[in-house]
Symmetry: C2
Subunit: 96 residues, 2 copies
Amino acid sequence: MALFDLLRRPRSLGNLWQLTDNPLTSRELQSSCESVSSTVLNRRLKELRAGLLIDHDSHGYELTEMGRELFGLLEPFGQWSIHWVDHLSKYRSEQG
Amino acid sequence: MALFDLLRRPRSLGNLWQLTDNPLTSRELQSSCESVSSTVLNRRLKELRAGLLIDHDSHGYELTEMGRELFGLLEPFGQWSIHWVDHLSKYRSEQG
DNA sequence: TTAGTTTGCTACTAAAAAGATAGCAAGAAG
DNA sequence: CTTCTTGCTATCTTTTTAGTAGCAAACTAA
């Protein structure tokens, strides 16, 4: 699955997240996402652009329509992960 | 997101996929998933077990209830990725 | 018991990916 | 021209991932 191969990379998903509201320049992304070097950042931005999930114009980087669609798919995971963490903590308190 | 940190690991998702039908032993998993060393395989199995997504009994490794729930969430991505790949190939034929 | 298998796992080492630092080139603004 | 911002990358170090080889426990069969 090529999609997951893209999202799997460190900072990939994080950068998408940062762009949900406003377009940001690469330097703005770098300072908002504490502790990421420009090397890694630009590597991810290039990959996400090649995947048509983000776009780059005079305002900076922003999500494409596809990028926004993808984000919709990710939402259910937020809900489920709460349920999941609950299971984990219960199990760990029982078993050590 | 701890969940994604787990699934992000190489072979993590692939191993879950292999277990959707039947329980498999670690050696069966290794031969079904061509080209994975036992080191990596067992590392992933350990992580997935700690995350309560798979379980290990006398029949081998199998998905837990949580593991199956998670798989339900992943299904929409299969559909969407077709749509995504379509966009990518259109774009690439236009732009080279 | 002993020899042979299967299964789960792990040391050890090599290869690949990620990361940090430093700095360049293009464009805008003064 | 100088200064600043932005996008990007070459180089090097660190961390992750991968491959080989092999061990120990459980099981089978003689």
